[in-house]
Subunit: 571 residues, 2 copies
């Protein structure tokens, strides 16, 4: 049951849902013609289907191991990574002057989706490098850019993010790693970092660590944090990997999933580093990388969902069990509850993918036009794309296990791997709770302007669709009104705790309504008849109504929540 990249799905979403045409009409992306994009999708599909999917099970079965300080990736990973690097995929969204293809994030996200569905553990390597490339493009001094960017975009070197420390996970401001000036413009970095994905890789010539640390006498909290480039091997005069830097992988975490991707504890013992961005500007630089990564992780959720869904669908099409109520092959796909599970999964994947790609398109429009409204749209959609994408990954992979029945609980089928692997995506790059808090606090600091602009757009489109597809358009319009009221309620809460108390249900309710909107657009695009219209009807009739419960929850505030005491929770 091999993975097949859904390239038609991407083309459809590009053309009919998120307006890639508007992106590629801008001077910045004018080279991304329709033909180029089509060719890119086809090539990425080939890479994913033929090179990456075949090593997916290998990473789960063999794990990555640390032997005498040397990291050994799973069998096949090295070759698969070379295929990614040689295809230029790491640099797909990097600027041409960095050695990249300069393609829109929308297209890069579709490529990440395919690579992630094929092999999530390995796809994390280019994803991290992409985030680092963007951070360097925006914040690094020219010398660093010239030295590192060509190596990163070519995939010869790989990138990591080093934020967390044992007492500073979600609270980055608490970190204690130190950076002492060496007097020659470089710094000595000392401290321990945790949760470093791909902290080492035996298939890369060099590993480029972007490390958050504090300069001496820096203020407490996030304002005292600076960002440093700390490579595993110090580049020599020719820019090639030279002397070994004073950093090492101390240990690898024993995780529930994503075994192919080593999660490292890193020790920096006076390692040489170079400042990226201004002193004390570490968080701003890191946010560039994190925003990129947040969308990327949301896409990972969608991709794991796609992989799990295809895997379960193939099984459902083949597995005979009991009498089926309709004529056909007599396989479980024709049992009502199995078909419900598959239809739910299919509909949610579409919704989550559209949200992620709409976010990517907004990023592209913001970059291409500089328009604040597009930037605000991108910022608003990022936490939704991250949290709903990864929630969808969990739900669909859970459903995939369920469709396999007992065989889903047995590791050899592979259904369990999707379920275990994707679990971390709801946690890393900021837990989904952190995403929701970001949404209701920072992303509503504009008084709801970005949110309302999106709601206005949905209602205008639903209004227009009333004439042709009233049974789909009306519930979407109604749901959007309910969402508007919930948004207004949140915006009007002066105490942030009242927003935080319902942040996750609000985010999920927002995503449910957005999903209805994109399904409606899909049905409209085919004139209300066909595959997409049938799926839209399923989603709007059966899944969209969940917004009512979620948005009711979102509006309850913090008082009753904090009335529940510690003793109440223990009792």
């Amino acid at each position: 049951m091999p993975y097949r990249a859904p390239i038609n799905e991407f083309s459809f979403i590009f053309d009919k849902i998120v307006g890639l045409g508007d992106v590629t009409s801008t001077p910045l992306f004018e080279d991304a013609s329709h033909d180029v994009v089509t060719a890119i999708l086809a090539e990425a599909a080939k890479l994913s289907d033929e090179k990456l999917a075949p090593v997916n099970r290998s990473g789960d079965e063999h794990h990555t191991v640390l032997e005498n300080g040397v990291m050994r990736a799973a069998p096949g990973y090295g070759e698969a990574y070379q295929a990614i690097a040689e295809g230029g995929w790491v640099g797909i969204a990097a600027r041409p002057e960095s050695g990249g293809m300069g393609l829109p994030m929308t297209v890069a996200s579709a490529v990440n989706d395919m690579m992630g569905a094929a092999c999530l553990s390995l796809q994390l390597v280019p994803l991290l490098s992409m985030g680092q490339i963007e951070a360097l493009e925006h914040h690094a001094p020219d010398a660093i850019k010239e030295l590192y960017l060509p190596k990163l975009t070519s995939g010869e070197w790989t990138g990591t993010m080093n934020l967390s420390e044992p007492q500073a996970g979600s609270d980055v401001g608490a970190l204690a790693t130190k950076a002492e000036p060496n007097g020659d413009g470089t710094f000595s970095i000392t401290g321990q970092k945790i949760w470093i994905s791909w902290g080492d890789a035996d298939f890369a010539e060099n590993i480029c660590h972007l490390v958050l640390a504090r300069l001496p006498d820096a203020p407490k909290g996030t304002k005292g944090i600076s960002l440093f480039m700390v490579p595993k091997f110090l580049p020599d005069a020719d820019g090639n990997p030279g002397e070994r830097n004073d950093l090492r992988v101390v240990s690898i975490e024993g995780k529930m999933g994503l075994h192919g991707s080593p999660t490292c504890v890193m020790e920096y013992s006076g390692a040489k580093g170079w400042l990226v961005g201004p002193e004390g500007g570490g968080m701003a630089a890191m946010f560039t990388m994190m925003n990129n990564a947040r969308l990327g992780v949301g896409v990972q959720g969608v991709s794991a969902a796609e992989g799990a869904y295809q895997h379960a669908l193939a099984y459902a099409m083949e597995r005979k069990q009991g009498r089926t109520p309709v004529e056909g092959p007599g396989t479980i796909v024709d049992h009502a509850d199995v078909r419900r599970m598959l239809a739910e999964s299919k509909c949610d994947i579409f919704a989550a993918r559209c949200i992620a790609l709409a976010c990517a398109a907004a990023i592209d429009m913001g970059n291409a036009t500089g328009d604040a409204a597009w930037k605000a749209r991108a910022a608003f959609l990022t936490p939704i794309a991250k949290a709903f994408g990864t929630e969808t990954g969990m739900r669909v992979s859970e459903t995939g296990v369920q469709i396999f029945g007992g065989m889903g609980f047995v590791e050899e089928t592979g259904a369990a791997q999707y379920y275990r692997d994707v679990r971390v995506t709801a946690i890393y790059e900021g837990t989904n709770g952190i995403q929701a808090m970001d949404l209701v606090a920072r992303k509503l600091m504009d008084g709801g302007e970005a949110a309302y602009a999106l709601l206005d757009e949905i209602e205008a489109d639903a209004e227009k669709a009333r004439a042709t597809l009233p049974e789909l358009a009306e519930p979407v319009w109604q749901a959007t009104e309910t969402l508007r009221e919930a948004t207004e309620w949140l915006v009007s809460q002066g105490d942030l705790q009242d927003r935080f108390a319902g942040a996750v249900p609000f985010l999920m309710g927002f995503a449910r309504v957005l999903g209805g909107y994109y399904h409606l657009k899909a049905a409209l695009a085919e004139g209300g008849e066909g595959t997409r219209s049938r799926l839209a009807k399923f989603y709007i009739d059966r899944l969209l109504p969940e917004h009512i419960g979620l948005l009711t929850h979102a509006r309850q505030g913090a008082v009753d929540l904090y009335a529940i005491t510690h003793d109440d929770l223990v009792a």
Copy 2:
């Protein structure tokens, strides 16, 4: 962060929610005085906290292995099992004439809840034996009863269920294992069985397999199935384990979780067996065992949720991260979203536990009074208890991982074990989809009588509560009306597919409303002030509204679902 059995919770639910007093007022259960029950809870808590919880991690870390045909349970399991056996816990609900304590299923379910929370893998051993004991009590000839029941209730011997075969999982009627008469009243059993939990155990003297098989010339389908007792060792003249029977464990499945419990492929090669129940009556006998086990598995879901919740709560109370918005220890329990996750978990565990214990109490009342209405109530609640209990297990253990953040994805904390272990409970003993189909088809064959009786009871209680607790009573009453309409809609569908299409959402919606009812009762019991009232308000305001989306989904029917073609799902 050790497990502490929540005995006050059980006492409260016994007294105020499910009416254990009515059960123990019947002649059948008159020995189960309040003092006896209190002592039983205390002893079971001691067993769970001190003997079972300490071996929980061992089963996950060491797995059970098959070495040269010999099964080796995880270190510590043997001693822990002896503690269960010696305490008489296997026979807690067995009849006194079987060597049991004759206590109500309600009490036994609380004991199972505690044992399961402490060590789910091991608790499966007594759970399976309990089901077998009940099946033998109801269906076995006297000779079998006299020989096996004392050994099973004492825990010296353990029991298994053998239903599934490679092509007959959910479709039991397709099984092919043969039973040939030996001419001496015994039978030769030949065939392969899969998914046999604890198909062997090195801490039991004998393993008693109840095996479904077909007699020669038996009709096809479920009517041709008979049930046989097939022990690992043939009892000798004194009833002690004698000659080795011709059966063996072929292999153990490599599973995602529940590693301490070996899931076996069993080969019967002309093994000697004895008929249990009439020829062709295998399914009826097996259903006795399965109904018992379905409630038992629902309780497993609740128990895993309790274990995961306590584990996550202890972490949340200790872990410092970021600034908390209220005065206190500055730990993450005081972050709004963490508290929301904990409150949701706490409220859902209460709801699921009340449903399971209400089901158990109905079983007890049915057994004690013979009243058809109680039996119908028990039958109706069983699939809800199973599916909602295990769904709660999945949701709460997922939340537990989330509360741990990155540490939840790392195996050493143990949060992941709950998540992996509980996953199978939504699958085995009939997947949750099968439970939901049972609910909307067989359990509504009475025209909805059992369902409406329950809804009438809720509305009458809510009606009474309106005067004192209107803000809790009114939403529960309203939700019950919505549920009544959905039930009426389902009952009126002549084509079962129209019910099946929304079966799972209906079951979950029903559970949501039941949960509201039990929370309301809990608040009433303390006069609307205190811990339970605060939790009830949280549940009713924030979680109960989910029923709207679920019950809307439940009423959509099969037409649009089957309009989605195979090609639509693939596209």
